[in-house]
C-alpha cells in the first residue's frame, strides 16, 4: 500500500482516494464475502465503508494503518448489515433460502470455508489471505490475541479434518 497515496487522500485528494480503494477493493470484497452472502449486501457494506473512509480519513492518525483501519470499518458495517438482515428475517418469520453466489462458491477451496463458523472464517480470511498479523486481527476484531490464535487453530483443525475425509475419498486437492 502506498503511504503517499494515503497522505494525499488525507488531504482530500479524490484521485488518490479512488486509487487507494481500487487497490483495496478485492480484499474488501473477499472480507465482506466471509460475513455476508448476498451480493447486494456486500455492495451495501463496501459502499458504506468507502463513504465512511472518505468522510473520516482526515481524522486517521497513522497512514501506515490505513488498511487495518479500513478493514475494521468494513467488518463493522458488515456486522451491522448482518444484524439488520437477521432482524428482518426474525420479524417477518420468513426463512430465506441462502442465495449463494454460484461463481464464488463453486470454487472448491472456498467451499471449505463453509465448514467454519462466521468468527473462524473472518479470522482465516484476515490471517491467511489478507496477511494481517495476529496482533492486527485482534485489533480489528476488538478481541484478544489468544482468541485469534484459538480461532485459527480451531479453523485449521476443522479444515484438516474435513480435508482428510475428502482426500481419502479422492479429494479435489489430491
Amino acid at each position: 500500500m502506498d503511504k503517499e497515496l494515503v497522505l494525499r487522500a488525507k488531504k482530500r485528494d479524490k484521485d488518490a482516494f479512488v486509487e487507494l480503494i481500487n487497490q483495496q477493493k478485492e480484499s474488501m470484497y473477499k472480507i465482506a464475502k466471509t460475513i455476508l452472502k448476498k451480493e447486494e449486501d456486500v455492495a451495501d457494506a463496501m459502499q458504506e465503508t468507502i463513504l465512511n473512509c472518505w468522510e473520516k480519513i482526515g481524522t486517521m492518525r497513522k497512514p501506515e494503518y490505513f488498511r487495518t483501519w479500513m478493514v475494521r470499518i468494513l467488518i463493522n458495517n458488515c456486522n451491522e448489515i448482518y444484524r439488520q438482515r437477521s432482524k428482518v428475517v426474525l420479524n417477518n418469520e420468513i426463512i430465506l433460502e441462502e442465495t449463494v453466489d454460484a461463481d464464488y462458491f463453486n470454487v472448491e477451496w472456498r467451499e471449505m470455508m463453509s465448514f467454519l463458523n462466521e468468527k473462524q472464517r473472518i479470522v482465516v480470511e484476515l490471517y491467511y489471505v489478507e496477511q494481517f498479523k495476529v496482533r492486527e486481527i485482534a485489533d480489528i476484531l476488538q478481541i484478544g490475541q489468544s482468541a485469534v490464535k484459538g480461532r485459527l487453530q480451531a479453523a485449521r483443525k476443522i479444515i484438516e479434518a474435513n480435508y482428510c475425509t475428502d482426500t481419502q475419498r479422492g479429494s479435489i486437492f489430491g
Partner: protein
C-alpha cells in the same frame, strides 16, 4: 509423520487456493464506481446538511431564548404556550418597599423588612393554585383553593415578569379603644402598586390570640374593592374606624374611605365594647394631632411588646420554609379554607418538579429526534 506432511501440504494448498484472485461481480463493481464518482457530491451534501442543521439549531436557540425572556408572549403561543405560562409565574418582577408614611416607624421592623418576600410568596402560591384548578368548575375551585389564595389569584394573574411592584404607604386602621379591648390582633395594611398604578391593598396580620403568635398575609377582596383612595394619601394620613366606617384624615381634612357593613350580631348582643359608639364619638372629636399622638403612641407600645418580637421570628421561619404543597383535600368538608397548611409546610414542591421534568423531557425528545435525523441522513 506421513499423514501430518500430507495434511500440512494440503492445508497450504487450501491457503493458496483462498489467495487466488477472484472476480468481483459486476453489480458490486458498478456500485463501487458509482460511490467513488459521487464522493464530492456526498461530501457537499453532508456539508449542506450540517450547515442547515447548524442554522436550524441557532434559530431554535434564539427562538427559545426569546420565549424564555418573554414568557408573556410565549404563553400566548399555541401548544407550547402552557409550558411558558407556568414559567411566567416565577418571581422575576422587581419588588420594592417604600417607607413613605409616618406608620413605617411604628410598624414592627420584622414586618417592614419581610413584607416584600411575603407578597412574593402569596403571588407564587396563588398562581400555583390557579394553574392547578384554572380549568376546574366553580365548586372545585371553592372547595380546593384556600380562601387566602382564592381571592388573591385575580391580583397575582396581573403580575408579569417585566412589572415593577412597589409596596408603599404602610398604615394601620385604628379602632378607638382597641388597646383596652382588642389588643391581640394587629393588621398592618400596605398598598401594592404595579407600574405606578394601584394593584391592591393587603395586610400583614399578627395574631396573638392563641399561644403561638401567627403572622400571615391577608387579602380581603371586599376591603380592596371598596376602599376608596381617590384622595391622595400623604405621609401624614391617619386611618381609623369610627361608627362602622373607616376614615382617612390629614391635617387639612378627613374623608371616608370605606363604609363598613353592620357589625356582626354577636358583637351587638354581647356588647363587648368593640363598637362602643360613645368611645368612638369621643375619639372622633379629637383634632388631628391628638389622634396622631394617640395612635402612634399605641403602635409604638405594640411594636415594643413581646408579641411583635415573637412575630419577627415567626415571619423569618415562615419565609425560610419552602412553599407548602398544594392541598388536595376538600376544604369545604372540614375547614372552609382555614388552617389548611400548617402540617404540610416545608415539603418538596411537587409542581416545580413536574415543570422541570416536562422541560427536561421536551429537551430530551428534541435531542433524540435531532440525533435520529442526523443518523438517518448519514445512512442515506
Amino acid at each position: 509423520m506421513e499423514r501430518k506432511g500430507i495434511i500440512m501440504k494440503n492445508f497450504d494448498d487450501f491457503v493458496n487456493g483462498l489467495n487466488q484472485d477472484i472476480t468481483i461481480s459486476d453489480s458490486v463493481n458498478q456500485r463501487i464506481d458509482e460511490t467513488l464518482q459521487g464522493l464530492e457530491t456526498r461530501r457537499k451534501h453532508n456539508f449542506r446538511f450540517l450547515k442547515a442543521a447548524t442554522v436550524a439549531a441557532c434559530v431554535l436557540l434564539a427562538f427559545g431564548a426569546v420565549l424564555v425572556s418573554s414568557s408573556v408572549f410565549a404563553s400566548d403561543l399555541p401548544v407550547i404556550g402552557g409550558i411558558f405560562e407556568k414559567g411566567q409565574n416565577k418571581v422575576k418582577y422587581s419588588i420594592k418597599v417604600e417607607k413613605d408614611s409616618m406608620y413605617a416607624d411604628v410598624i414592627p421592623s420584622g414586618i417592614m423588612k419581610n413584607v416584600g418576600a411575603m407578597f412574593q410568596k402569596q403571588v407564587r402560591m396563588s398562581m400555583k393554585y390557579y394553574d392547578k384548578y384554572k380549568d376546574a368548575d366553580d365548586y372545585t375551585r371553592i372547595s380546593k383553593i384556600p380562601d387566602k389564595y382564592r381571592d388573591f389569584i385575580d391580583i397575582a394573574k396581573e403580575i408579569r415578569d417585566s412589572d415593577e411592584i412597589v409596596i408603599r404607604y404602610p398604615f394601620y386602621v385604628y379602632y378607638p379603644g382597641e388597646e383596652n379591648y382588642y389588643g391581640s390582633i394587629y393588621d398592618y395594611y400596605f398598598i401594592a402598586e404595579k407600574n405606578q398604578q394601584k394593584l391592591c391593598i393587603f395586610c400583614i396580620s399578627v395574631n396573638a390570640e392563641e399561644e403561638k403568635v401567627r403572622t400571615q398575609f391577608i387579602y380581603d377582596k371586599m376591603l380592596d374593592h371598596y376602599f376608596s383612595l381617590d384622595e391622595n394619601i400623604t405621609e401624614e394620613t391617619l386611618f381609623y374606624e369610627v361608627d362602622r366606617s373607616i376614615y382617612a384624615e390629614t391635617p387639612e381634612k378627613s374623608f371616608l374611605v370605606r363604609e363598613i357593613y353592620s357589625p356582626p350580631a354577636e358583637y351587638i348582643m354581647q356588647g363587648d365594647g368593640m363598637y362602643d359608639d360613645a368611645e368612638s364619638s369621643q375619639f372622633y372629636q379629637k383634632n388631628y394631632e391628638e389622634k396622631k399622638d394617640l395612635i402612634l403612641s399605641y403602635l409604638k407600645a405594640v411594636k415594643k411588646g413581646k408579641t411583635m418580637k415573637k412575630s419577627g421570628g415567626d415571619i423569618k421561619s415562615e419565609l425560610k420554609k419552602a412553599d407548602e404543597p398544594i392541598n388536595e383535600e376538600d376544604l369545604l368538608d372540614f375547614s372552609m379554607g382555614y388552617g389548611e397548611d400548617e402540617d404540610t409546610l416545608g415539603e418538596k414542591e411537587l409542581d416545580d418538579v413536574i415543570y422541570l421534568a416536562v422541560c427536561v423531557a421536551v429537551f430530551c425528545i428534541l435531542v433524540i429526534v435531532t440525533v435520529m435525523y442526523i443518523r438517518k441522513h448519514r445512512q442515506d
